[in-house]
Subunit: 353 residues, 2 copies
DNA sequence: CTGTTAGCGCCTTCAA
DNA sequence: TTGAAGGCGCTAACAG
């Protein structure tokens, strides 16, 4: 179907080896040395023949030969998620800059699906994998990693593995978020949402707990509403919380969707469009979006650098791939490396305070 | 590094051909026929050898041989975009179900970048491409298509090409959106945002114009605020609109981001948190999200089935790939096929009207 | 500086 | 039902 190296070689009147030398720059021997190992004259001949034929390299053939596909598999629990897509944007940009492509797939928030996809992706012989784990199970990642597949975990770490991770400083972030509420005088502060199987949720919970402890506050059990990371979870939790005799006056939302659900509940109960009144509780939410200024109860926001996280993860996986290529046999198993990005606290940008 | 067919064959005491026959089901000859062409006994031997060695197929080798990578390149103008990500979700699901993988890349809203990426992706020998064009330029797609690369355009069509497209019925959608405002009694209705280079924007504009014409209304030139598809564009346009002596009392927003920007402007000018008053203008916006109920000025929403669009596009590109494989030489160039998905109008779900 | 050659791992006729 | 063998398109020694 497509033209091959041989066609180009024929037209240019040289050998396929020469064509390859022209078209695989910075690879064999001299790195990107413009005057590599081919005379300017033949180089030109080859280039124009390439042009004339509209030649396109066959990636499969190159991959087979080089034992490297220049592709990174990226596995997310879901795609339609503001935070994840910012991460994806960062990853893609970084990978592309280094000549890699991103094979993106969704685990549908299911460990079973995750295992299937990871196997499929491993079968595609990608050079490495970037994954946001769907749960706290990590054996499938660990064993793939043990077999030599470079893997970097993103956003969520998995305990009991020695896998590299790039994530945010969730604990510190929620600590500061909670402290902001405390210094505004709130004392009855709830924590809403969070799958206990996810490291990010656990870390956020513990930052919250530490802030309360620092302030000498013993949280009532009913304030801690674990379970769920989605809109409907926030909605339900908010409903239950407000039914208490003596409900909290402030809340920390584990993430953006839960936050959204909580606000939805308030909207449904005493919609501001009807009563024109500000909500009676205040929310400090983890994760920002263009919409947070419109969430009436939102007082503080903890922002992660999602794009930065993606690009950091991209850098790291490429590093690992290169290390592997260089060291090769030296089983220089460095221990687990966890990169934590800072989280910043701010008010949503109402013009008026 | 990895185990090969040969390793498996050796361990199982059979030839590589036999192993291949076991592990490439539904391919050579009999489609998925459980009792294909290998005895149950040898089949078992092969399977257990495969297991024992932890054999993983080398995708590059298979691709080289089969001349098919089972990968679809997907090129979006940007990734961090609610609408696009829903589309991506639909695409990925559909592709995965058919055994394809998604190579996702961003054109950064730039035609130049788009050309680069498209070339890179074509070089990867993907089996087909799904793209949301960054502009009204389509030569690079057309020529790739002419060379035999199956391509389906998504969300935006490009005139002057004969490329298949899957998109929404934008014209009808905005027509109905505008009619909803008209039947509420609004007469001074503006249209805000929209790159004239994008078919979706043009179609939405024309639906708006048709609705006004139907109602016998001649729009004032100042009501039509073209330019831009992003938050900041909506913000700026809203500022200008409200400076008119006799400003519009209702507006149609070309998309979600522009809508968001318009609301932001209102928030900054007379934030509801301060005045507790409903905004003085009403917006009908194209595209929905979980946040639209929180946008104070939002009266109507036109919702596209973004996930459905993705899955439809996925189906279509796979169809085209199969057609190509079957017809092969028969140059049965069907003419351009445009699939249009319906757009539904609704009110954002305030509990109170 | 350039050509020859031998595979990378898999699939698929063609024979047996 | 199975094996032997050639080749998909590219690259990297090794010669020249």
């Amino acid at each position: 179907m497509g033209k091959t190296l041989k066609d180009v070689a024929l037209l240019a009147g040289v050998s396929t080896a020469t064509v390859s030398r022209v078209l695989a720059p910075g690879y064999s021997g001299a790195f990107n040395k413009a005057s590599s190992t081919v005379s300017e004259k033949t180089r030109m001949k080859v280039l124009s023949a390439t042009e004339e034929l509209g030649y396109r390299m066959n990636h499969a053939a190159r991959s087979l030969k080089r034992q490297s596909t220049m592709m990174i598999a990226v596995l997310f629990p879901e795609l339609a998620n503001d935070f994840f897509m910012d991460v994806a944007e960062g990853i893609e940009k970084e990978l592309y800059a280094e000549g890699y492509s991103m094979l993106l797939s969704s685990s549908l928030n299911s460990v079973e699906e995750e295992k299937k996809r990871i196997n499929m992706l491993a079968g595609r012989t990608v050079d490495g994998m970037l994954v946001i784990p769907a749960s706290s199970q990590g054996n499938h990642f660990q064993s793939l990693s043990d077999r030599g597949m470079p893997i970097v975990l993103v956003d969520r770490i998995v305990e009991g593995t020695n896998l590299d991770s790039v994530t945010s400083d969730n604990e510190e972030g929620t600590f500061n978020l909670t402290k902001a509420l405390l210094s505004d005088g709130f004392r009855r502060i709830a924590f809403v949402g969070g799958e206990i199987t996810l490291s990010s949720a656990r870390e956020r919970l513990s930052g919250y707990a530490r802030a309360l402890a620092d302030a000498g506050i013993e949280p009532e059990p009913s304030w801690i509403c674990l379970g769920g990371m989605k809109t409907e979870d926030g909605y339900k939790h908010m409903g239950k919380l407000l039914k208490n005799k003596n409900p909290p006056d402030a809340m920390v939302a584990v993430n953006l969707l839960v936050h959204l659900g909580m606000e939805r509940y308030l909207l449904d109960m005493n919609g501001f469009s009807e009563t024109n009144s500000k909500p009676s509780v205040v929310i400090a939410g983890f994760d920002e979006s263009g919409y947070t200024p419109f969430l009436p109860a939102c007082r503080y926001i903890a922002s992660q650098d999602a794009v930065g996280m993606g690009s950091r993860a991209g850098k790291r996986i490429i590093e690992k791939i290169r290390e592997k290529k260089n060291h090769k046999d030296e089983s220089k198993k460095d221990s687990e490396l966890i990169i934590r990005l800072p989280v910043t606290i701010s008010r949503p940008v109402y013009k008026t305070a």
